[in-house]
Amino acid sequence: MTNALELDRVEVVYDDFHALKGVSLAVQPGEAFGLVGESGSGKSTILRAIAGLAPVASGTINIDGQSLSKRRDKAFYRSVQMVFQDPYGSLHPRQTVDRLLQEPLAIHGIDDQERRIVRALEEVGLGTGFRFRYPHQLSGGQRQRVAIARALIVEPSILLLDEPTSALDASVQAEVLNLLETVRKARKLTFLLVSHDLAVVAHMCDRLMVMQHGEEVEQLLSTELSARKARQPYTQKLIEASTGFRR
């Protein structure tokens, strides 16, 4: 089976800072793959490199077996979408929810806009009552639902999730995580999920990669993580820290 997403020794260099130092990973279709690590370890950079938002210096990125060129084409943007971390920064402040959802449809020349917008809003549990609101009239959780609806409206097969719940309260996080699981099942999506919270990744993903300083520390199964069976001391330390404070 061809991998839905494959990175081979990808390097990202900002000016003279090596943000990614040759990272390789492979995600199968329908799989949920997690990325964890401390801030600055290069998790977001991986997602941005895939999305074409970060300068890839070397290495290759394959989607469904097809190597990506430097310039992404429209078909790429219909198969790969992203949800950002900060729900307050990822929605245009001057556009209503309706306008936000219409834009991708207009860009890809998809007709039947009315029905799709209504359906997208219902899918993320917002309903049409939210359709003509501006972002500042929404709570953080509602904004993140809108961002998910915007990503799903072009019917992608791969969803890149950059800490989608770390700015949300725990109860809202649970709702959004449940929503993400539901749409993944319903649409057979492939997830690449970034989080600094080991428990979230273990809950959502099948496999994960631990990162540090722009490099892979190790890849392991979520079941191994849950059983605290890490091979690398750094992973052990992360697991230890996530259990809370010990006197």
């Binding site: 938002l53 992404r72 429209k74 920064g89 929605l91 402040p93 001057r94 209503t96 003509f132 501006y134």
Partner: protein
């Protein structure tokens, strides 16, 4: 009646608008409320509306002809017959000021229509594209900014020839650089934001991103700036008129009127003072309006 008004207010302020129109109107209403809370801004708005009305109904309002004068009636002080007195040609100053408001509006509107879009386009493209495009556009902007506005306008009029159209063009050419600066600065703050990244990720072309997503963000600060600049534009136009390079006689342009009045400034003060007052009031009006708009349109105030 108050019942209807109340529910209309509620409809506008609804947290759950039912249509695009309602959302837009609701937003406009909120801006209006912020604007209306500012007493001075309302005064400014009233002055500008008055200017518009006077310009529109000049033939009805003006008691005399603005160009034809009676030489025997020359240099009369303000009185019942001529409220603002007459000039050396015996023309009624009030009538000339009333007709002059049309010229003032003409200049101001044309300059705004010409300069603001140029500035917006240059600024947003430079800010979003970056690299050598930014460098080239910014240097051009800098060159224009390096000269004092009136001097540059003078040079252009000297090259194009005197006349009100050329004055407008000259002023427009000299006033876009600050707008470009503002638009560029604003673009730089949003170009790396997640919401622009999200639009890029939808596959939007750079042109679409600039026009549909970045420009709307710059427009409100630009509107504010243009409104505040109106006073300066009027003064520059008046300055050109004063130097004889703007509107040509017998056009009742306010700056030119002051110029012709300066010969009698000591004995017949009203010839120069009346148009001066008109310029002062209208400039003040635009300034107050601009200040009010800044508070009302500030995207940060409208945000969280």
């Amino acid at each position: 009646m108050s019942d209807v008004a109340m529910s209309r207010r509620e409809w506008l302020l609804s947290e759950r608008p039912q249509s695009r129109l309602q959302a837009r109107l609701g937003r406009a209403y909120m801006s209006w409320q912020r604007f209306a809370a500012n007493r001075l801004a309302l005064i400014g708005l009233a002055i500008i509306i008055m200017l518009l009305l006077v310009a529109a109904f000049a033939p009805v309002l003006a008691p005399y002809s603005p160009v034809a004068g009676d030489l025997r009636q020359g240099l009369k002080p303000p009185g019942w017959e001529h409220w603002m007195g007459t000039d050396d040609q015996g023309r009624d100053i009030l009538s000339r000021i009333i007709y002059g408001s049309r010229l003032t509006l003409y200049v101001v509107v044309l300059v705004a229509i010409l300069a603001a879009p140029i500035g917006l386009l240059v600024g947003t493209v430079a800010g979003y594209a970056g690299g050598w495009i930014d460098t080239v556009l910014s240097r051009i902007t800098d060159i224009f900014l390096a000269f004092p506005k009136l001097i540059l306008a003078l040079a252009f009029v000297a090259a194009l020839g005197p006349g009100i159209e050329n004055a407008v063009i000259a002023i427009a050419i000299t006033s876009w650089p600050p707008y470009a600066r503002i638009a560029r600065a604003e673009t730089l703050t949003v170009r790396n934001s997640d919401y622009i990244a999200a639009v890029r990720l939808m596959g939007a072309s750079p042109a679409r991103i600039v026009v549909r997503h970045i420009m709307p963000l710059c427009i409100s600060s630009l509107i504010v700036r243009v409104t505040l600049d109106m006073a300066g534009i009027i003064l520059t136009a008046a300055g050109l008129g004063f130097l004889g390079l703007g509107a040509q006689p017998p056009l009742p342009e306010w700056g030119a009127m002051i110029a012709s009045g300066r010969r009698f400034i000591l004995d017949q003060w009203w010839v120069a003072a009346m148009p001066g007052m008109a310029i002062l009031i209208v400039s003040l009006g635009f300034n107050l309006l601009g200040d009010g708009l800044r508070d009302a349109l500030d995207p940060r105030g409208a945000g969280q």
